[in-house]
């Protein structure tokens, strides 16, 4: 077997090794190790994507055991896409963090443990994207949760600790509920592997209840309205690189698990009304999140509520899953495209917001006037990232909106199209409220920056990537087709 065949395992081992190394090395070396590790992971993710795109999906048996005794990793289209997103965003966040954290961390910022915790979270994210076993999902979720909570509380002040505590309790609630669901599911089917579950699942209230509990728990972890209460404080109180990773990646991880459960494991209509309910909650998220974003006065809270709204878009695929393979293909491609472009744009937005806070010395939006003249790169970052949030061409946000609108109309469920249109307008409302302040006439004093390339040009580059991401849509769609989801819908890759 060649290197490429072992990539799934390597993608978990590499960040884990990086985390272990940074734990023992001293602080000045940590950042170098972290950057090197992220470059290696990006390479591996790219190789895996190429392998899946050209050779199709494949399973990897850890330790050679094989399901149902062992745990299998599944490398298909969506997994490879999310892994690459994690790698690109992760590398950007790592590089930003080398400039963000002072060289001498001291007692603030957790004594330089950021690197270890961050690489550990990366490990758990990769593991979750690759897993093919529902209990393994539980373990990965817990790992992500622990590292994320620790990262949120890194600053150690009262706000961070409160946000972290809330996040932890929400995590624990979700985890225990998920495990209970797994218990019920296992007692009905005797299976934990996702493919085997799909094969043996029969209409059974025990299994249905178990799966419903599992999905509900994951919905809490993905902060879908009305279970979003923990997200704004957690994402806003964390250090900036952590906020970006949380909004761009962590919420996508639990969402990925929902995708697997709802579309791969469960046959259509297994839990009646589940798809429509998720679509309705998604619509509420889009509307409520945008409205709340319009009311925010502090910049990171504003970005966090934008995340709450954008998460809603991802759930529009579920009511459309039973309307035929074409509609499902379009909708699935649409949400994947959305997850990817939102990941890029939200990272840009959070990193940019963090840099704006750093330059202005405060976090109040209303006082950040005249930034267009004094901080053109950061203003451009916010504006271009906003284009993706609004779903305007030629951004990836537009591509996903187009596909979801087409899928809704094609399925005869045109009301989702109205929600999507409204979402774009609401996003414009909350984006331009802030942009108008940045473009206003009265410039205020700004502090100089010590690392303009990493702290300002890097977020801009991510925003530009998201801006043109619609051209990646055919590629994303073809990879969405190489998945267990489409296999079950009767589409051969």
């Amino acid at each position: 077997m060649t290197l490429v065949d072992h990539l799934p395992a390597l993608l978990i081992i590499a960040p884990l090794a990086g985390a272990a190394i940074t734990f023992v090395t001293e602080r000045s070396v940590d950042r170098i190790v972290a950057v090197l590790t992220s470059i290696i992971i990006t390479l591996f993710s790219g190789m895996l994507l190429y392998r899946v795109a050209s050779g199709g999906a494949f399973r990897y048996e850890i330790g050679g055991w094989g399901a149902p005794i062992g745990i299998d990793l599944v490398a298909d289209g969506p997994a490879a896409l999310f892994l690459l997103l994690t790698a690109v965003v992760g590398t950007a966040v790592t590089i930003y963090a080398t400039a963000y954290f002072p060289k001498d961390c001291g007692t603030s910022y957790g004594h330089g443990l950021f690197w270890t915790l961050w690489l550990f979270m990366w490990t758990s994210l990769n593991a979750l994207f690759l897993t093919g076993d529902v209990f393994n999902v539980y373990v990965c979720l817990e790992l992500i949760g622990i590292s994320a909570v620790a990262l949120v509380t890194l600053k150690g002040d009262a706000d961070a600790l409160r946000a972290g505590a809330r996040y932890l309790f929400a995590s624990m609630l979700a985890a225990m509920t998920y495990l209970l669901g797994v218990a019920l599911l296992y007692s009905s089917t005797g299976q934990l592997d996702m493919e085997m579950l799909r094969a043996t699942l029969t209409p059974d209230s025990g299994a249905a209840t178990g799966l419903a509990l599992m999905v509900a728990a994951l919905v809490l972890k993905t902060a879908l309205v009305p279970a979003h209460f923990w997200l704004p404080t957690a994402h806003a109180s964390a250090p900036t690189p952590v906020s970006a990773a949380l909004s761009a990646l962590v919420v996508k991880a639990s969402y990925f698990a929902i995708l697997r459960l709802m579309l791969s494991v469960m046959p259509p209509g297994f839990i009646p009304g589940a798809g429509t309910l998720l679509g309705i909650l998604g619509s509420m998220a889009i509307i409520w999140g945008s409205l709340q974003a319009m009311r925010q006065t502090r910049i990171k809270q504003w970005v966090a509520y934008s995340t709450v709204a954008q998460i809603g878009y991802l759930f529009i695929v579920f009511p459309l899953a039973d309307s035929g393979a074409d509609v499902l293909a379009a909708a699935l491609g649409g949400v994947l495209l959305h997850a990817l472009s939102h990941g890029l744009a939200k990272t840009a937005l959070f990193l940019g917001a963090g840099s704006l806070m750093d330059r202005f010395g405060h976090n109040e939006i209303a006082r950040m006037t005249g930034a267009a003249r004094t901080l053109p790169v950061l203003t451009a970052t916010v504006a271009l990232a906003g284009v993706t949030m609004m779903g305007l061409p030629p951004s990836g946000g537009f591509g996903s909106k187009w596909q979801l609108v087409s899928a809704s109309i094609g399925a005869g469920q045109w009301w989702w199209a109205l929600v999507l249109g409204l979402g774009g307008l609401l996003a414009a409302a909350y984006m331009f409220r802030v942009l108008a302040v940045l473009l206003s006439d009265t410039p205020t004093e700004v502090r100089p920056t010590h690392a303009p390339v990493r702290l300002e040009w890097l977020p801009l580059a991510l925003a530009v990537a998201a801006l043109f991401f619609v051209f990646a849509a055919p590629f994303v769609d073809s990879l969405a087709g190489i998945s267990t989801i489409m296999l079950h819908a009767g589409v051969t890759p």
Partner: protein, 489 residues
């Protein structure tokens, strides 16, 4: 590849402008002027090819099963030529006008991006590609509307966005629905949708949605509310964008919609064209009447623009060859005539700080060349022969009769009278006695003065040479005839 240049070149110029920054104004101006000249040349060259029947096209894959495509056909090239030539002229004017303004790099950069987007709208070969550029145009014009950063500018910008983005959403749903029904339909002279059977209600709804989307930029009442407020922008913006690029993108969309997507016959058979003509006619009359009462010069011109744009919309909706040709020709004629007037308004504001009719006493003495050029444009707009406006008006009127809608002819004649009604007072106001007196030497910055003269002269020439191949009137006729199953003799 050449067919992408009218979009790529201005984009490149914009990037270079942003990078050069505020300080290097000479380099920046040089890049813009040379780039605009090259861009205009390429566009004219493509237009020449189109005239000869050689339509260049190109596509790139965009979304699954959907290609992103451009083509240099006669209709599109007319719009593109007008926009590109006037970009060059406006640049000269703007460099003079913005001499003491701030954030010029940002201004000229977004200016170039607007032209890139407008060219995209002109060249797009199907509704999806057109939609893409149409929305990008909204985004690139916003920073120009709010350029001064004042509260008033920001409010105007907000209003513009609400209108434009809501219209854009309607357009998106319409185009997506259409694509689900009929697949990706390229623009074809005579329309491509007549074959879609059994979907009459859906097609009517889609037509309405698309008209709503295009109607915002085309200032079709009641979707016009953003335009008067947008006059707070600097005069080069009001001139090039709100008289030429942005608003013409809206009516251009309607032209494509009626002539090359649905087709004149099909649109009429659905009843959609008739509704559109009614709306356009109301717009013409109401806007002209409101214009009569405006004291602020730019606002008066804005309402005039709303009315004139609806001339075009009405012409298209009448679905007859002469009317459609008149509409397309008017797109070009009106651009030159109105830009003369907006340039004048800007020059008055910058040179003698006059913005309202009530302040205009003595202006004719103080700035004779400028006001003469304005007078030429005003008479042209009102349809006095042998100026440009007369040519297109004549075609529109004749087309109204040809299509059997004589009521439209009456609307056009009444509108012409009203146009005299709101233009002549401006001239009288300038001839009144006032505090201003003639100056020795040039009456205003030469960079602002000569473009005004140039576009006024073009208004004369376009009228005199109306039958000559290459004139907008002849060009428009060649462009629209295929949609009616005819060929240019």
């Amino acid at each position: 590849m050449t067919v992408w240049l009218p979009i790529l070149l201005p984009t490149l110029i914009a990037i270079v402008t942003f990078v050069l920054g505020e300080a290097r104004s000479h380099a920046r101006n040089a890049v813009n002027l040379i780039g605009a000249a090259v861009s205009a040349t390429i566009v004219v060259w493509l237009a020449y090819g189109a005239y000869g029947g050689d339509v260049v096209a190109s596509t790139i894959p965009l979304l699954s099963g959907i290609d992103f495509g451009v083509h240099a056909d006669l209709t599109g090239m007319l719009f593109s030529t007008v926009a590109s030539v006037l970009w060059f002229v406006t640049l000269i004017y703007a460099i003079g006008y913005m001499d003491h303004a701030r954030d010029r790099a940002r201004f000229f950069g977004f200016f170039a991006l607007c032209i890139a987007a407008a060219n995209g709208v002109a060249l797009a070969s199907d509704p999806i590609s057109l939609f893409l550029f149409y929305e990008i145009l909204t985004l690139t014009t916003y920073p120009l509307v709010v350029h001064s950063g004042t509260a008033e500018a920001r409010a105007a910008g907000r209003k513009y966005l609400i209108y434009a983005l809501t219209g854009g959403t309607a357009l998106l749903i319409g185009v997506a629905w259409l694509t689900v029904l009929a697949g990706q339909t390229p623009f074809t002279p005579g329309g491509a949708l007549a074959g879609v059977t059994g979907q009459t209600t859906a097609l009517r709804a889609i037509f309405a949605l698309m008209v709503a989307g295009f109607g915002v930029k085309a200032a079709l009442m009641p979707l016009h509310g953003w335009l008067p407020g947008a006059m707070v922008a600097p005069a080069p913006v009001s001139s090039l964008l709100h008289a030429v690029a942005v608003v013409k993108a809206g009516v251009f969309g309607i032209i494509r919609l009626v002539n090359e997507l649905y087709g004149p016959e099909f649109a009429t058979s659905l009843g959609a064209a008739q509704v559109l003509s009614a709306l356009a006619a109301i717009s013409i009359i109401v806007a002209s009447v409101i214009a009569l009462r405006q004291d602020d010069l730019k606002k008066r011109l804005a309402y005039s623009t709303i009315a004139q744009l609806s001339y075009i919309t009405l012409g298209v909706a009448l679905c007859s060859p002469l009317a459609a040709a008149g509409a397309l020709a008017h797109l070009a004629h009106h651009a030159f005539m109105k830009i003369t007037m907006f340039f004048t308004a800007g020059s008055l504001a910058e040179t003698v700080h006059v913005k309202k009719l009530s302040q205009m006493g003595g202006v004719a003495r103080r700035m004779p060349i400028t006001m003469t050029s304005f007078a030429v444009a005003a008479f042209a707009l009102a349809g006095i022969p042998p100026l440009a406006g007369f040519a297109s008006k004549w075609m529109l009127g004749a087309g109204a009769v040809e299509s059997g809608s004589t009521w439209a002819l009456i609307v056009y004649v009444a509108a012409g009278a009203l146009a005299m009604g709101y233009m002549v007072p401006i001239l009288f106001a300038s001839l009144r006695k006032g505090d201003l007196d003639a100056t020795g030497g040039l009456e205003s910055d030469p960079r602002m003065l000569w473009p005004i003269v140039f576009v006024a002269v073009v208004s004369i020439v376009m009228g005199l040479a109306a039958g000559v191949p290459g004139s907008p009137a002849h060009w428009a006729m060649s462009a629209v005839l295929p949609s009616f199953g005819g060929v240019m003799p």
